[in-house]
Every structure is written in C-alpha cells, then in structure tokens.
C-alpha cells in the first residue's frame, strides 16, 4: 500500500485543491505543503520498510487495471529507485516551501499542477509495469508544460513547447518499443501477453538486429530526457524559463528519469546492444561534460550557468552508467541523487536573489557577501558540493564514476576528470563575481539576507550533501545489490554472446 499511497496522496491533494476557493491563498499553500509532507512521510515509511542488501523489488503491489491487454497496477522499489523516490518527495516539499515567496499569482492552479507532477514522477520510479510506466511518463509532461508555460520567465512559451515536443518525439518511439516487447512477453500463469516489467526483463532475448532497434527506441527517449549531447538543447531554455521550483524539479528529478531509464530498461533488457553502444554513448557523455562546462563558463546569467552545468553533470552520470562495472554504476546512481541535491539547491539559491532583484545577471550582483552573509555561506557549501570537494556528496559520486570509468577505459576517465576541473572553474568564478569585491550596484546595498523559510530547504539539502559526503554507506548498501543484479546480465548472457562471431 505504501507506494500507491505515495502516488495517491499528491494526486488526491491536487484534486482537493480544486475545491478550495481561489481567494484562500494561504490555505491552498498549507494544503499543498500538507499533502507533500504526507507523501514524504510515507516515502520515509518506504525507506524504513526497505530491507538493505537485497537486490529484488520490495514492497511490491499488484492489482488489476486493464486486464484485457494485460496491464496491471504493479509497483515496487529496488535499490535503484528507492532513493529517487525519496529525492522526489523531499524536493517536492522543499519546492512548495520555496514557492511561498516566489509564486504570487494563480496559486491554486500552480499547486494543483505541482502535486500532479509529483504523483507522476513517483509513479515513473515505482512502475513495474511498462504500461503504467509509459502512462506516468507522459502524464508528467502536462503539468510541467503548464508550470513552465504559465509561471515561467519571458521566453516561457518557446521553452515549454520545445520541452514538450522534444520529450514527446522521444517517447512515441519508446511506445513502439514497449508494444513490441509486450507482444514478445507472456505471462506464464495466463499465457497472455503482459506489460510486466520483471517478466519482460527476464524474457528479453531478442535477436541482435531487433535488440538494436528496441535499444534505440528506448535510448532516444531517455537520452532526450537526460539530456545527452546533442539532444540537450531544450534543457537550458526550459531550466532558465521555468519558475524556481520548476527548475529544481526539472534538474532534481525529471532529468533522472532518463538516466534511470537506461539503468532500468536499456541495460537489463538489451545487454548486447548496450555493450555495443558503450563507445558512442561514452563519447557523447564526454562531449557533454566538456561542452556543458565550457558553455557554463561563459554564461552571464547565473541560472543558465547552472542549467549548462547540469548538462556536464549528467554527462558524468551517463559515463558512469556505461562503464558497466559496479563502481561506475553505483557512482552514477549516487551522483544522480547528488545532482538532485546540489543543483536543486543551486536553483533554490538563484531563486532567492531573483525574487529580490528580478535579475539573474552576474553583472548585476557583486560583493553581496557583505550584505547577505548567511546566503553567501550557504551558496559556498552548495557550490563546493557541486564541484565535488572531498567531504561533500559530489566527490563520492564523481570519484566512483571515475574509478569505474578508468577500469573500463582509462582515456575516458582522463577526459572526464578534466571536466571536474572545469566545474571548479566556472562555479568558483561565478561565486567570485557574485559575492566578492565591492558592491557596485546601489540596489544591492539594501538586499535582505535569507529568511528562515528560504534558508530551510537549502539547509536541509546542504545537510544531506554533508551526510552523503561523509558517510555514503547507507546509500550505497541499498543501491549496490540491485545494481549488481543488472550487471549479472552482462556477465552471463553478454560475454558469451559477444565472443561469438
């Protein structure tokens, strides 16, 4: 029941929201906060009930949905999805808190879409039925489309339509792939075709050419979501135009759907093709790392800078995933969580000054460490975690990724490691331009430091950053068994197959 509750609570809260009168703004906010907190509490229950050290899906729920076509309401979590669910519920709470200061119009509709989005995201990570997965995957598009398009910045319409069309173009091909798999998966008890993900993964033994097409149909959808270079162009636009909470969710959770998809679908179902595509995807990931970092370096808009840094960070995640060893995989999964924490917090931080000054240009700031000392301190912690300073979360993830990549191909690791340096350059440089030096703009003299409400989400995330940085064990011990299960696919089926001519 816990997982269904996790999805149902935000969805039901969203529907309840529709009954609240438009004018009752404060109650809308409190209801939304209550709903998201409840979902977070339930997800903590999921965590508490999750038995570490097991690879299989846990807390599995099954119920009929559309039995004529073999689609079931089938949910479960394993080490791969557990933390992504937690990240989603946590970031949602923090986003709603941060929206208090930044969203002032159409508050009811805003929170309605936000909660709907949350339900969809949790659904994607929990789905053990390909059909449920696809429905949730598509359902998320609509609230995100509205969140960017209605509450976003000046070029919001362009950004949101681009976001929608890119994602849609990728996902329709995935639907063809899902249907093809469906017709080649049978439920042994009923003898009918089924969308059951576990069975589909077990039975997935396609001839090489079919496997390649299927891999590509899934990989395109996921690569767009990640986004892998050169499919990344929607991301800076969407990130920059979205309202603060939208950017946080976009970076924190939505991008993870792509990387999660690779781990959940591409690797276990199409292992041979995955091995074949290692060079291509790794090179694209490396281009993403370098290119994202270089472009971030020259940005004048700090939000764009963070957006491009996401391209670089997600490049790391992809590099680690396609190292196809346990160090790489676990590093990449941990780095997905880290990126959610660090980049989510960075977007929240940018939102704080944006709410005050309505500008995101680095040139409009400078020296504000003097007037906003707490803010400057928080920013520095988060920036350092994003850079990958030892003792903070980013380091652990990047270290594992580079370790795994080095084992797979040292050259990739060498190029990838240079991305770490770039990251330090652009973030520290931006930090310097924003916080140090004299205050050149008079308006900045009167800037208020962060309020407790603004600081709370960032403090929580900074705390997590420190926790993962110092003691990542609880995270890794739950992740690794499930990731090793993915890898067994490679050791058993793959290597023998690869040796054949």
């Amino acid at each position: 029941m816990l997982l269904s509750l996790c999805i149902a609570i935000p969805a039901i809260t969203a529907l309840l929201m529709l009954l609240v009168p438009r004018s009752a703004e404060a109650s809308v906010r409190w209801i939304a906060l209550g709903g998201s907190l409840a979902a977070f509490a339930v997800s903590l229950g999921v965590y508490a009930n999750f038995v570490p050290g097991q690879a299989a899906y846990q807390l599995v729920e099954r119920g009929p949905w559309i039995s004529t076509i073999g689609a079931e309401w089938h949910l479960g979590v394993d080490g791969i999805s557990l933390y992504l669910v937690l990240l989603t519920t946590l970031l949602s709470v923090l986003c709603i808190i941060s929206s208090w200061g930044s969203i002032h119009e159409r508050i009811k509709e805003y929170h309605f879409f936000f909660l709907l989005l949350e339900a969809g995201m949790i659904g994607v990570f929990c789905a053990l039925d390909l059909f449920v997965f696809y429905v949730m995957w598509e359902v998320m598009l609509v609230p995100m489309f509205f969140l960017i398009g209605v509450w976003g910045g000046a070029r919001r319409v362009y950004a949101t339509v681009k976001f929608f069309l890119f994602t849609m173009a990728g996902s329709v091909l995935m639907l063809v792939g899902i249907l093809y798999i469906y017709f080649h998966t049978t439920d042994p008890t009923t003898g009918l075709n089924t969308f059951n993900l576990i069975l589909a993964t077990e039975q997935a033994k396609f001839p090489m050419d079919v496997q390649t097409w299927l891999f590509l149909s899934f990989a395109l959808a996921f690569a767009i979501k990640v986004p892998l270079f050169p499919l990344h162009t929607w991301l800076p636009d969407a990130h920059t135009e979205a309202p603060t909470a939208g950017s946080v969710i976009l970076a924190g959770v939505l991008l993870k759907m792509g990387t999660y998809g690779f781990l959940r679908f591409c690797l276990p179902m199409f292992p041979q093709t995955s091995v074949e595509y290692v060079p291509i995807i790794s090179v694209l990931a490396l281009i993403g790392i370098t290119y994202g970092a270089l472009v971030a370096m020259v940005q004048k808009d700090v939000k764009k800078l963070v957006a491009y840094s996401s391209v670089a960070h997600l490049g790391f995640v992809m590099l680690g995933t396609f190292a196809l060893n346990i160090e790489g995989l676990s590093g990449s999964l941990l780095q997905q969580i880290n990126h959610g924490i660090s980049t989510g917090a960075l977007f929240l931080l940018v939102g704080v000054v944006y709410d005050r000054r309505h500008t995101r240009m680095l040139a409009d700031y400078g020296g504000i460490a003097k007037v906003m000392p707490v803010y400057a301190a928080l920013f520095s912690i988060i920036a350092l975690s994003s850079i990958g300073l030892p003792g903070l979360n980013g380091f652990v993830g990047e270290f594992l990724i580079l370790l795994g990549t080095f084992a797979a191909n040292p050259w990739y690791a060498v190029i990838g490691a240079s991305g770490v340096i770039f990251a330090a350059v652009y973030l520290l440089w931006a930090y310097q331009r924003m916080f140090f030096g004299p205050i050149v703009h008079e308006e900045n003299l009167k800037l208020k430091d962060v309020s407790a409400r603004e600081a709370l989400p960032i403090v929580v995330l900074a705390g997590l950053a420190v926790w993962i940085g110092v003691y990542p064990q609880p995270f890794l011990e739950r992740m690794i068994p499930s990731l090793e299960l993915v890898l067994t696919k490679f050791q058993t089926t793959n290597m023998t197959q690869m040796l054949l001519p």
């Binding site: 039995s67 004529t68 429905v135 069309l165 849609m168 017709f183």
Partner: protein, 478 residues
C-alpha cells in the same frame, strides 16, 4: 421471401424512431411557424434519446434481419447509440448558434435527424446497396446542412463543393459496387465473404471494382489524396454542422469500412492491404503537416480530422478482431473529443462572428475556466496524452498494427502524433499562456456547459477505465 417478423422490426427500431421524429419535427415546424420555436430542438433531442434507448433495448445478437439485408448485431447497436449521442450533443450545441445566425429551424433539425438515420442504415447494412442508400440519405442531408447559412458565400460554396465531390465519390462507389456485382454475382456481404473465402481468381473486373470501392470510401472518410473537399466544406458549413459531420459520418463510414473491407473482403486483403497502408500513412502525414500552418482554427481541426482518419485506417489495415475493437474504441473517443473541440469553437464564435482565428483564444483559459479546461482535455486527448481516451485509442490501434507486423506503420503514426502535438499545444498555449486583448465575454448557456463538461468527463473516464467500454466493443465487433 419470408414475411416480416418481430425480430426484423426490432432490428430497425432506432431508425423507425428517427423517421417518426423527423416527421413530427417537420409537422411541428409547419404548425408552430417561425424559427424561434423552442420546441423543435426539444423534440429532436428527445427523438435521439429515444433512438438511443431503442438501440440499447434491442441490442443485437448477431443475427441478420430483413431477409439478410440488415445486421442486428452488437456493432450496429453500439454505433446506433453513439450516433444518438452525437445527435443529442449536436442538438444541445445548436439552438443559440442557429438563432444568432438566423438559420431556419425546421429543416435544420429534421435534416440532422435524417442524416443520423442514414448513418444508422450504413452501419447495419448487410449488403452494398443498402449501405449505399444509407450513405446517400446521410449525404444529402449533409449537403443541405452545409449550405444552410444562405447569406454566407463560404457556406454556399461549401455546400456546392460537397455536393459535387460527394456525387463524384458516390459515382465511384456505385460503379465499384456494379463491377463487384459483375465479378461476384452478389452484393450481399455474406455471399461476398463466402466468395472471397474460397479460392477466387483476381480477374480485372474484380480488381477494378475493389479499387473503385476503395476510392469511394477514401473520398467519404476524407483520406489523402481524396481529401480536398473537406477543409473547405468544414470551414464553410455552420460550425455546429462541422462538428456533427466530422464525427458521425466519419464513424459511420469507418464502421462500413470494417464491415466491407475488414470482414467481407478479408479474403482478398492481398489485393488492397498495401494500398490501404499507403493511404493511411500519407493521410496522417499530410493531414498533420498541413494542419501545422493553418491560420483558422476551423481549418486546423479539419486537417486534424484528416490525420485522425489516417490513424483510424491503421485499424482496418491491421484487420484483426482486436484491431476492429480498437478502431471502434478510437471512433467513440474521437467522436467525443472532436465534437467537443468544435463545441468550444461554437462558443467562441459568438464573440468573433464567423472568423476562427487563433487569436480569439488568447487568455480564454483563465477567464473561462470551463471552456479552458474542457478544450485542454480535448486537445490533450487529440494529441494522445494519457490518461485521456485519445491515447488509448491510438495505443490500441497501433498495438494491433504492431501485432500484425506493421511496425513501420505504427512508427509513422506515432511520429505523426508528435508532430500533431505542436498544433494542439498551440491552442493550450493561447488559452493559458498569452494575455487577452480586450473583452473576454462569451455566453455559455447551461446546455452547452453541461454538454461540454460531460464530453470532457467521458474522455477522462473511458481513458482511465477503458476496460468496460473495450469489453463491450470487443464483444460487439463481428
């Protein structure tokens, strides 16, 4: 030949109800006089409700009636209900529009009733001639309805264009039927099916007959390259009628396609399945691409329904029982969403008088929540976003195609959905993401609001819980 039995009469009960209602409406119009009479829509609406109930009450068991000329099976019953619902919705959307446009009432409602009668004949026909008669009854009603705005040149043009091209396509159909009769010796579906089931010679007369029949059908469902009439006709016709004729007649033609090509001529599918595959792919691609650059909402919806005809053809190509059930499901979903979309245009029209520019939608979403929400639901459903019914329609149709090995067709179709997303999204963008210019008042009387809300709800409900409807349809398709 046997005399008529109760079963025979039961099989045509809905049609009988409609004919009687038509006569009543005509008489009432004469008696009451004047076009302000409020009783006519009520009468027509009741007639549709009664016909729908009659169809439910006489749910067919798959037998043939009237000496083997009329199907009384689940398929005919389902679609008689669907047509009745389309009729009721059209009647609900009509009065205010008609009043504002000064369209004469008596013939309006009686013609809508007659057209629906024709559709019902089409879906229950068990031989090509009866099908043709139903088609003509339906079409003649529509020719007149398209031209009812006599003061409007475009409406007259629409009517003329529709009449001439409709007559053309009828000619193709009839010629095709004649050739098939020459080759087979019967126009009876059952006998034709038996003919195709045994080893037959694909002689030239037979092939020509099939080809002409296919062209005739392609005209009727507005498949590319036989679609040229439809945007102009859709644009010129009164908007209530555009909504009506983009749903009912299309559904009727597709049911007939299932019966004629999908079942009766299944044995000869090698002869036409490639042609139909290409027809489907070209239709959806051209429809979507041309819809992208339309400046009038009405024309955009016209091209979008051409595209949907392409998706629906996929179901006929796949040619299994599941595919036909999928097509039927799609048709039901499509009827609700497309009629709903046109209903929103009808509302808008009262503000803008005759032109349906995209600009009219600016800022309407927040100003008119019901209009905005329902239009959003219709657009998302037309795009094929779950959990709207339109998604499941596409899913079932394309999955049937993939199962039959038409993977390329499914890929082309689904890529087309992504293209279509652009122009459907544009409407949502205008509704919610642009600022309005000037006054945003539109009157929306209660019947409208109720009909819109119900349509949107139906789309959501049969989307979230498609199973009951799908089961009914699977049981119903022959």
């Amino acid at each position: 030949m046997n005399s008529l039995s109760i079963i025979d009469l039961q099989a045509v009960l809905p049609e009988t109800v409609l004919v009687i209602t038509t006569l009543v409406v005509i008489v009432a119009d004469v008696v009451k006089g004047g076009w302000r009479s409020g009783s006519l829509p009520v009468l027509a609406g009741l007639g549709f409700v009664a016909a729908g109930i009659a169809a439910l009450a006489t749910w067919g068991d798959g037998t043939l009636a009237f000496a083997g000329t009329v199907y009384s099976d689940g398929m005919s019953s389902v679609f008689k209900v669907v047509f009745s619902i389309i009729g009721v919705l059209t009647v609900l959307y009509s009065p205010h529009y008609i009043q504002q446009r000064g369209i004469r009432l008596g013939e309006y409602y009686s013609l809508v009733l007659m057209s629906v009668f024709g559709m019902m004949v089409m879906v229950s026909a068990a031989n090509l001639l009866l099908f043709f008669l139903g088609l003509e009854v339906m079409s003649i009603g529509l020719y007149v309805l398209a031209g009812l705005q006599r003061g409007d040149l475009r409406s007259t043009e629409a009517s003329m264009k529709y009449l001439i091209l409709g007559a053309f396509s009828s000619g193709f159909l009839l010629y095709g039927i004649a050739l098939l009769y020459g080759a087979i010796g019967s126009v009876d579906y059952v006998e034709m099916q038996a003919f195709f089931a045994q080893g037959f010679q694909p002689e030239s007369m037979l092939i020509a007959g099939i080809a002409l029949l296919l062209v005739g059908f392609a005209f009727k469902v507005a498949a590319v390259p036989f679609h040229f009439w439809s945007p102009d006709v859709y644009e010129g016709a009164p908007t209530t009628i555009t909504g009506f004729m983009s749903t009912g007649p299309k559904a009727a033609a597709f049911v007939a396609l299932i019966r004629v090509f999908g079942i009766t001529m299944a044995g000869s599918s090698v002869l036409w399945v490639d042609a139909l595959t290409w027809l489907a792919m070209i239709t959806m691609t051209v429809g979507n691409v041309v819809a992208l650059k339309q400046t009038s909402l009405k024309r955009m919806l016209a091209y979008s329904s051409i595209a949907h005809a392409g998706y629906l053809l996929v179901g006929i190509v796949a040619g299994t029982k599941a595919a036909f059930a999928a097509t039927a499901y799609y048709l039901v979903a499509y009827s609700f969403m497309n009629l709903g979309a046109f209903a929103v245009l009808i509302l808008l029209n009262r503000k803008t008088d005759g032109k349906y520019g995209y600009e009219d939608l600016r800022g309407m979403g927040f100003a008119h929540p019901l209009l905005g929400i329902t239009m959003t639901v219709f657009m998302l459903s037309l795009t094929g976003i779950p959990p709207m019914a339109g998604f499941f329609g596409k899913l079932y149709v394309f999955s049937a195609a993939i199962q039959q090995g038409h993977v390329m067709l499914a890929i082309v179709g689904l890529l087309n959905s992504a293209v279509a997303a652009y122009y459907y999204l544009r409407i949502i963008v205008l509704l919610y993401m642009t600022k309005a210019e000037g006054e945003l008042t539109v009157a929306d009387p209660l019947p409208y609001r109720a009909a819109l809300a119900v349509s949107a709800l139906v789309i959501l409900v049969i989307g979230l819980f498609p199973e009951p409807l799908l089961n009914v349809l699977t049981a119903a398709v022959p």
